[in-house]
Structures are given as C-alpha cells and as structure tokens.
C-alpha cells in the first residue's frame, strides 16, 4: 500500500487529481482549499524525494508502462536517478515557490489548479520516454505558465506574457511538426527507439525533423538573440512566477534536451556555438541592466546556456573517447551541480527581489537590519557566481578540468569571461545594498523570508554533498567555514569584546589542529601567519562595539590560512583560496568607506582565481593528477601551468599594472582589518608563488619566465614606492608600501635559488611584523587625531610617544637599514641577484630602496616630527589627543619585540628557513652547495652595507641639493602656494610634480577603459526593441539559421 502510494505515478495522480478536487473543495471553504493545494504539492515533492532516496540507496530505476502494453506501442515513463534528481529538486522548489506566491494564489482556485498542473507537467517532461507525450507535457507546462503569468495585471506584464506566448507557440508548433516528421521517418515515437536508430535517421525529412526538434528545444531555453520575449516576462511577471519560468520551465526543457541530446550528435558544435554566444551576450548585456528582475533574467538565460554548453562539450568528449578517471562523477557534478545551483540560487534571488520590492538594484534598500536575510542574499549571490562551497563551483571546477583535458582552452576563456561579467553585475547589486541608506521594510515571514532562507540553506547542504562527490581530500578544509558559522550563530547575542576573545580562542585551537603535522616550508608559514594573525587580530579588543559578523568572518579568514597550507590537491588549494578571497571581501565590505573599492577587489580577485583555476586544470591535464606535489615533478611542458598560476598570484599580490584594486581595499577597510589584510593575508599569493615556483624550475623556459617575473617584481617595487611617496593619506601610503614590499618578495622568489627563497621567507616575516605595527599605529593615530591625512597630522611625538617608538622600529626594519632585520633581507636579496647576474635588477632595486627611504621619512616626519597643524590645536587642548589604547599598543610591541629578537638572533629564523627549504629543493639548487652556516661565515656584509648606505645617502643628498638650488623657483612656489610650514614638507612638495610624471595613473585609466569597452558591448541589447512581432521574427530567423547551418555541417 505504502509502496504503491510512493510510486512515481502518484505524482501525476496528485497533480491531476488535485486539480480536479480544487474546484470542489473551493465550495467547502478557504482552509480546505489551502490544505488540498499544499497536500498535493508536498505529496509530489515527497514522492519524488523518497523515490530519489530509494534510487540513491541502490534501488532499480522504475519503468512505468501504460495501457497494458510495452513501448513503443504504449507510452512509457521512467524514474531513474537523473529523473529522480530533477523531479525532486523542481518539486521542492515548487513547494517553496508556492509559499512565496501564496498571497497571490490565496483564494483563487484557478491559479492553484494551474500551479499544480504546471508542476505536474514539468515532472512529466522529465519522466516521459515518448516524444509526442513530451510535446503534450510541454504544452501543459506552457499553458500553465500562460495562465500564471496573468496573475500580474499591469499592462507591461500582460504585453510581456503575450510576447512570450507568441514565441513559445512558434517553438511548440515546430516541435509538433518535428515529432510528426520523425515518426514518418522512423516509425516510432519512443525516445529509446529513436536513440537506438539515430544513425539511421537521415534523408531530407529526417534531418529537417531533427533540426526542427533541436531548434524548438533551444528556443524554449531562450538563445541569443531570440530571447527578448523571455526577458520581458522575467522583468514584469510576479517574482514567484518569474522564478518558476526561470528554473522550472527551463528544468523541464533542459531535461528534454538532456534526454534527446544523442540525436543531435552531429550538431554539437552548432549547439555549443549558439550557447556560448548566448552565455557571453547575456552576461555582457546584463552589465547595463538596472532592473533587478530583468538582471536576473539575463543571468538565468546565461546559466541555462552554460548548462547546455557543458552538456554538449562533455558529450562530445565522451564521443571522441577522451577518457579520464571518474568521468561519470565529473559529468554528474557538472550537470547536476550547475542545475541545482541555478535552481536554488536563482529562485531564491527572484523571491528575495520580490520580497524586498525595489525594482532597480540602484535603489535597493539596506538589509543591515535583517542579518539573516543579508546572509541569505550573500549565499545566493556567491552560489550564482560559481564560488565555493556551493554546487555550481564544483560543477565549474570539473567542467574546466574536463575542457583542459581535451585542450579546449578557448571554451574555458569564454566561460570564465562570461562568469566574470556575471559576478560583476551581481556583486555590484550587493554593493549597492550594503551602501543603501534606507532600511528595507520587513517582509512577511512565511511568504517573504522563509523561502529565501530555505533556498540558501539547501544550497549550503547541496554544496557540502557535492564537495564529497568532487573528491575534496578531507572535510577539515571546511573547518574555517564551520568555525565562522558557529561564531555567526552566537553573533547577535554577545558583546564585541567577548566575541573577539572567543574568536581568538577558536582560531588558536583550530589553527593548532590544522597545522598539526605540517613541516618544512608549510609548517614555517603556518606558524608565522597564524601567530602573526592572532597577534594582530587581538588588536580588535580596542573596539567596544558589537561589529556584527566581523569576528565570524575573521575566524574564517585566519583559519583558512593553515587550511591553505594543508591543501594537498589543486582543488583543496583553490577552494581555500576562494574562501580567503570571499572572507576578505565581506570583511572589507563591513566598512562603509570601502564601498567604491569592493567591486575592483572582487573583480581582480576573481580574475586571479580564474587564472589559478585554469592553471590547476592545465596541471591536471598535463600530469594526470591533481596533487600539488606533482607540481614539483612536472615535465618540460609545465610552462603554461606556471604562467597561468604566476599570473593569478601576481594579480592577487598587486603587481604593477594589476594593482589598482589594492590601495582602496587595504586603505578603506576598518583599521585593524587593514593591518591583517596587509600584514598577513597579502602573503597568501606568496605561498602560492612559492608552491608554483617548482614548475618554472622544471620547465625548459624556466630562466626566461623567472627573469620576467623578477622584472615584474622590480617594477612593482618602484611603482609602489613612487605612489606611496605621493600619497597624502597615511593608510593609502601604507597600502602602496605593502605593494612595493611585496615586489621585493616576488623578486626573491623569481631568483629560483636557495638563497632567493630563504630571502623570500625572511622578507615575508619582516613585512608581516612591520606592516602589522604600522597599520595598527595608524589605527591609533586615526582614533585619537581623527584624520588620516598628512595635512591634518603632525607633532604626535609628544602625545603618542609609545606609538612613535613602535613606528620608528618598524620603519627602520622596513627600510633595510642596519641593525634591524630588514637589512639582512635586502642584503640577501642583492647577493642573490648578483649571483644570478641580474645586475640591472640589482642596481634598480637599490634606486627603489632610495625611493622607499623617502616615503618612510615622510611617514615618520609627517606623523610625529613636523609641527602640529594650527587647525588641530584644539584637539590637544581638549585632551583627546593622547596615547593610543593599550589594546592597540600591545600587539605592536609584541611584533616589535619579535623584530628585535630576530634582528639580533637571525639564526632563530634563518635556520628553520634553511632547513625548511632544503628538503623541498633538489640538491643542485643549494646556494653554492654550502649550508647556511657556512654562507654566514663566507659573507662579510659590512663592505656591501657601506656601499649601499653610501649610494642611497648620496642619492638623497643629490635630491636635496637640487632642491636647495631651485627652492626659490617662482613656479614651484606658486604651485604649492607656500602652505608647507617646514623644510622637509617643502622638500617633498618640490618633488611631487616630478613623481607625478612617474606615477601617472596609467593602470587605472587602462582598466577603466577596458571596463568601459566591455560595457559598451552591452549595446547588443538594442536587439530587444520590445516588439513581440520582432521577437517572433527572431525566433523564425533562429530556426532558419539553425536549419541552414545544421544542414551545411555534415551529420
């Protein structure tokens, strides 16, 4: 009895029966109506879900025969694993969608009836094995859609619905014709029968029938440019119905295509081109769109095209016999992952858009008062953008890997470019929401908030399930997210400082657990980044406010560091890398001032990530394994992988040219977050570069590539220093300084020698401590003096003596002056360059060091030594200008103590570093075959030190002399207006125009133009002129184009 109730056929009984009963119970009362409707709907969801579970547990697929005879005489339905997966997913979303749509459905039995029939129709499209039956179900779904579209009665919505009807009626007419012709050509309507004799389907009629069938299915999925009718409906329909069209109808049609795809084996290239064009065009045009629902429409169209594209590309590989291990799992992950991801995330976003009610994303209200909804919004967006840990990410990962396996790099570029555009317009929307001044009205719980929250929750669960399937090496990779989730749960009830303490304890415990068993370079990095991160994060105690979600995000970020070092495969590494990016993004987003810089940060981070993704895929394609250790044994063909990985990491490290995201993101984050980002998180790409550096050594082009990277590093050093020197904002200066210092580390890695890598690690340690101190010191200064501008600051030595001492120690350590540890770093670096005979680089890096001196002098002078600006005098008289809080000073002094310790006992750090690098390296790379102890004995740093100091001093003296002779120059006096009160300020002002020439914002201008150019491509949207007849014409043209191209390309 129970078994027969749970038979898949019950779905149709519930759909049709429910439809018949509704008008009857309507007479009995509203409660009965509601109960019947939800009973039928949840019954359908339950039957399909239980059926899926049964199949997952190893049950057999169910073949449903009708009319008491076997196919092809009768119509048959099938409920296998794929069918179960699609129907269960669609039915669950339909149930949630009914909740969302309830205010519109309530009391209208006709609408409920249409809803039930519509959902049943999708189930039928998925399960049927008969072509004509498929047509009938397609029409049932279409008629249900037409009816539901009339729930919105504005003229625009009615007009859009009519355009939708015109286009889809054309498509289904061709579907019908194709069905009849296929029957004429083959004598069967059974899909299995058709698939079995697909080789035999030929001749003018058979070929035309296939093309018409294909065209009908593709048009229903809204290909560019024949898709304006779909967009209008997405824009104007009630959000609940738009969601159904976007995810429900598309699911049914996609599954039909999925079933019939082998019939179109000859047209795979054609399908791929059409879908690729649609994916890119939809996402390009989306960049220009302001209406939220139409924006989601563009994204939907893009996602469906991506799914079909993935389907045909994978099937083509299968047909070509490209075999890779676990191809079935990969296929399931790509199709299932992309489908489920889009289903849940897009439906959730439509519902959220409707519940909030603002039509344009530019006028979207703030969700700050609704933290759960904001969290769900973030989850849905991250999922749609294809980022971990959501199912779409695993799908994209497998897809890119598969494409790299067959060398289809063109498709990879196309897919990633479209994804990048999509991420831009989605996250721009999120940024607008964060900035919005007006709080959102509270949506109703059951019909507004609940469906969105459940969709987000289901996405998380599905993501974790997909992670297991994708072969994540261990679930501890999700420990950072788990810790963040735990802190997020208790976030609303605890005060800020308690949360800070909890976060530190959690990170300490989790970090120790994660870094267990890490040795060598990884162990060293883990110890360094974790301890540095903890010390700097402890500065968070100086803030007494609640800081919603701040500590949870911080826990994710800090715990992701050891997790990253633990990564064993490219997948592990990439997932953690993305988690770090996302956690940083949301942390930066917490600061209102950072709003304009969020998008560049995310955009460049994603671009970097896409380089890495392709790089890891190329690695797996070349070496056949995803293990990171295999990077070390890559053959001569590792050059491509190396270039891809290095590009990604260099973007993330803020190399000159692609640095434009860096200053804003670092400077406008909250003060203690800036410290953490610049000191600790900026080392993440460095870890990556070191990991990938083996490749360059192994590949034949190693030396050239590495040399190129060295030059990029040097240009970054010089560019960063010049821009820092010119900056009037202290935090931005420090951000540019970070960029410059990271450039040194890049040079050190590029040396590809033992000494180079020792230096890199040494510089990493140095920069971590120095930048931690400086950013925390500036946090104190901003807190007390209320400004970050040099013009407003000065004379703080007296009121903030402890901060002054810490800054002085940090600056000396950074500048590379003796006796502190920066000196050792610079020294080693110059030695390494001389060793590689990179003399030009060595000389230029000395010049850059001089530039570095200048901005550091300006920093100390501008904050502490120059007289206090007169307009700030009231601050000190009011007594607010006093020493920074102890919570900020303690971490600074901890770091300063570490600098002093390591400066005077360098072997404390040098020996572990040398020991860490030795086993990782082949013996030939050890510097002149000596152990480090011998190297120390061999080196005599003093003469070179004297030369360096003398060179730098004479350069500064030259600059000073030039200034002395020309300081009375009238032009100069006019340009500064004589505002600068003291000699050193005048000195800097004198050189400013010259620096201006050096640091013309070429990179920003370049990237702005790129952005403008890409956005200009959005003029493609002119094809959507709003006229239903034009859209019908496009549909016809699409059929014609498909027919002519399809017949020209031999089957």
């Amino acid at each position: 009895m129970v078994a027969s109730l749970l038979h898949p056929l019950t779905i149709f009984i519930l759909g049709l029966g429910g439809g018949f009963v509704l008008p009857l119970v309507y007479r009995l009362g509203k409660t009965w109506l509601k109960a019947t409707f939800f009973l039928a709907l949840s019954g359908m969801a339950l039957v399909s879900a239980l059926g899926l579970v049964r199949l997952l547990l190893g049950g057999d697929a169910i073949d449903i025969l009708t009319a008491g005879s076997l196919p092809p005489v009768s119509i048959s339905l099938r409920f296998g694993l794929w069918e179960g997966f699609f129907t269960a997913s669609v039915n669950c979303v339909a149930l949630l969608g009914a909740l969302r749509l309830w205010p519109r459905l309530s009391g209208r039995y006709a609408a409920m009836l249409l809803y039930l029939i519509f959902v049943m129709g999708i189930n039928g499209m998925v399960m049927t094995r008969d072509l004509f039956n498929l047509f009938v179900f397609l029409e049932i779904v279409s008629i249900g859609t037409y009816g539901l579209l009339s729930l919105e009665e504005t003229p625009a919505a009615l007009a859009a619905a009519f355009k939708y009807i015109m286009a889809t009626v054309l498509a289904s007419t061709f579907f019908l014709l194709a069905t009849g012709l296929l029957y004429y050509a083959t004598g069967t309507l059974n899909i299995d029968g058709l698939l079995a004799q697909r080789e035999a389907i030929g001749g003018p009629i058979g070929a035309m029938a296939l093309l018409l069938l294909l065209g009908a299915l593709l048009v229903e999925l809204k290909p560019f440019p024949a898709n304006g009718w779909g967009l209008d409906v997405y824009e104007t329909a009630t959000d609940g119905v738009a969601a159904l069209v976007s995810v429900g109808v598309s699911a049914g049609v996609f599954f039909a295509l999925f079933k019939l795809e082998p019939l179109f084996a000859g047209q795979r290239n054609l399908i791929a081109w059409s879908c690729g064009l649609t994916f890119v065009a939809a996402n390009l045009i989306g960049l220009r769109q302001r209406l939220v629902q139409r924006l989601l429409g563009y994204s939907s169209i893009g996602q469906m095209a991506l799914m079909v594209l993935a389907l045909v590309l994978l099937r083509r590989q299968e047909a070509d016999g490209v075999e890779s291990g676990g191809a079935d799992v990969a296929f399931a992950l790509v199709i299932g992952g992309l489908f489920l991801n889009h289903l849940l995330a897009k439906a959730g976003l439509f519902w959220l858009a409707g519940a909030i009610g603002a039509r344009e994303w530019t006028s979207w209200p703030s969700l700050a008062g609704r933290p759960l909804l904001l969290l769900a919004f973030a989850i849905l967006l991250v999922a749609i953008a294809g980022l971990p840990p959501f199912p779409g990410f695993w799908g994209k990962w497998e897809l890119v890997n598969a494409l790299a396996g067959s060398g289809d790099y063109g498709w990879i570029v196309l897919i990633l470019f479209g994804s990048l555009c999509e991420a831009v317009y989605l996250f721009r929307w999120f940024g607008a929401c964060l900035q919005a001044p007006r709080p959102a009205a509270v949506p109703a719980f059951f019909s507004g908030e609940l469906p969105v929250l459940v969709a987000a929750l289901l996405l998380v669960i599905a993501g974790l399930a997909a992670a297991g399937l994708a072969g994540i090496s261990s679930f501890w990779l999700f420990l950072p997210l788990a810790a963040g989730a735990a802190l997020a749960v208790i976030d609303p009830i605890l005060p800020g400082q308690v949360k800070c303490a909890l976060m530190l304890a959690l990170v300490l415990a989790g970090g120790l657990f994660l870094s267990q068993g890490l040795d060598g370079m990884r162990g060293l990095f883990a110890a360094l980044l974790l301890s540095g991160g903890l010390v700097i994060a402890s500065a968070g105690f100086y803030r007494t406010d609640a800081r919603p979600f701040h500590h949870a995000l911080l826990a994710v970020l800090l715990l992701a560091l050891p997790a990253l070092l633990r990564a064993e495969t490219g997948l592990d590494f990439f997932v953690t890398f993305e988690i770090i990016t996302l956690a940083s993004y949301f942390l930066i987003a917490r600061s209102p001032a950072a709003a304009p810089h969020l998008l560049p940060f995310l955009l460049f981070s994603l671009a970097a990530a896409f380089f890495l993704l392709t790089g890891f895929a190329a690695h797996r394609a070349a070496s056949g394994t995803d293990a990171l250790t295999a990077l070390g044994s890559a053959g001569a063909d590792g050059a491509l992988t190396f270039v891809l990985l290095a590009s990604g990491f260099l973007i993330k490290a803020g190399a000159l040219g692609v640095h434009v995201w860096l200053p804003g993101a670092y400077a406008e984050a909250e003060d203690d977050v800036s410290a953490l980002l610049s000191a600790v998180i900026s080392k993440v790409p460095i870890i990556g570069l070191l990991t990938g550096a083996y490749l360059a050594i192994r590949s034949q082009n190693a030396f050239g590539l590495a040399h190129g990277m060295g030059w990029i590093g040097l240009l970054t050093v010089i560019g960063g220093a010049a821009m820092a020197l010119r900056e009037d904002d202290v935090k931005r200066m420090l951000a540019y300084s970070s960029m410059s210092q990271l450039g040194y580390i890049v040079i050190a890695i590029a040396l590809m020698s033992h000494i180079g890598w020792v230096t890199a690690l040494y510089l990493v340690a140095n920069h971590l401590m120095v930048k931690g101190i400086l950013f925390l010191a500036v946090a104190g200064v901003t807190l007390r003096a209320g400004s970050r501008q040099f013009a407003d600051l000065g004379g703080l030595m007296r009121s903030m003596p402890f901060t002054f001492v810490a800054v002085l120690i940090a600056v000396i350590a950074m500048s590379g002056l003796p006796p502190l540890m920066g000196f050792g770093g610079k020294w080693l670096l110059v030695q390494g360059m001389a060793d590689q005979e990179w003399y030009a680089l060595a000389v230029l890096s000395l010049v850059a060091t001089g530039l570095g001196f200048l901005y550091m002098i300006r920093l100390v002078h501008g904050l502490f030594l120059k007289p206090q600006p007169p307009n700030r005098a009231e601050l000190s008289s009011a007594g607010s200008l006093r020493e920074a809080p102890i919570a900020l000073l303690l971490p600074q002094y901890a770091l300063a103590a570490a600098i002093l310790l390591l400066s005077f006992y360098p072997s404390l750090v040098m020996e572990p570093i040398a020991a860490a690098i030795d086993p990782a390296f082949s013996a030939g790379l050890v510097w002149r075959g000596m152990s480090l102890q011998e190297i120390y004995g061999y080196w005599n740093p003093r003469p070179l030190m004297i030369v360096i100091v003398a060179a730098v001093m004479s350069a500064i003296a030259l600059l000073a002399m030039l200034y002395w002779f020309r300081r009375k120059d009238a032009r100069f006096l006019r340009s500064t207006g004589g505002k600068e009160s003291d000699a050193l300020s005048r000195f800097f002002a004198f050189y400013e125009p010259m620096l201006g020439v050096l640091v013309r914002p070429m990179a920003s201008r370049f990237w702005n133009n790129v952005a403008r150019g890409v956005e200009a491509l959005g003029c493609l949207r002119r094809v959507y002129d709003g006229d239903g007849q034009t859209y019908a014409l496009y549909v016809l043209y699409y059929f014609l184009a498909l027919y002519f191209l399809g017949s020209a390309i031999p089957i």
Binding site: I143, G147, I165, T173, L176, L177, T179, G180, T236, G1028
Partner: protein, 123 residues
C-alpha cells in the same frame, strides 16, 4: 501517370496554410489578426501531419468487411498521425483560447489591439 494521391493535395494545402499564417502573423499589427495567423499555422501543420500518414489507395484502419485482418498492415492508413493531430487540435484550441483571453485583457488596458501600444519592456 495518373492524378497525384490525395495526400499531396493535403500536403500542399497544409504548407500553403503555414506560409500564409506566417505571413499574416509577421505583417499584421493587430493582435486578433496575429492570433488568426497562429491558427492558420496550426491548422496547416495538422494537415501536413495527417498527410504523412496517408497510404495511396488505403482505407481507414478499422477492421471490418472493407479491411481484412491480413491486409491491415499494408492497406490501412497509419492511425497514429491522426491520433496525434486530434490531441494537437485540443491543445491548439486551448492555446488559441488563452491568446484570445489575453487579447481581451490587453484591449482593456489600453483600448487598442495594435502591437505598437505594447512595447514597454525593452533592452
């Protein structure tokens, strides 16, 4: 060479109807005329499908004195296209009804049936 089989006539008529329907749907701006265009296309397709099942000299697939059991396989017209068309007619009827309902609703909003009045959403 005798008179072409009746199915050719049906086929030709069907194709002409489809083309006339397309022409009407794409050239007229009046919503009712567009709907008529769709109906013509639909009917034309139905005729084409029926024509594909025809067998020259065949008879209705009903086994009685006109059609013996042995001859059923060779002399009877294929019933399946006709069955499909019956279903398709029902579906076409409902779709036409819905389109007409929309025509009424659209007319109520703007007091016109011209497509020119209904191009709000674009780009």
């Amino acid at each position: 060479m005798g008179f072409p089989p009746v199915s050719h006539l049906v086929l030709a008529t069907g194709c002409s109807l489809v083309l006339i329907g397309f022409y009407g749907m794409l050239t007229h701006r009046n919503i009712l005329r567009i709907i008529i265009g769709f109906s013509l296309i639909d009917t034309g397709i139905h005729m084409i499908l029926v024509a594909t099942g025809y067998i020259t000299g065949g008879t209705a697939p009903i086994i009685d004195e006109a059609l013996s059991l042995d001859a059923a396989a060779t002399r009877s017209v294929d019933p399946i296209p006709s069955a499909l068309v019956v279903t398709a007619i029902v579906i076409g009827l409902s779709v036409t009804a819905i389109m007409l309902a929309y025509a009424i609703r659209l007319y109520e909003t703007k007091q016109t049936l011209s497509l020119d009045a209904f191009t709000e959403s674009k780009w």
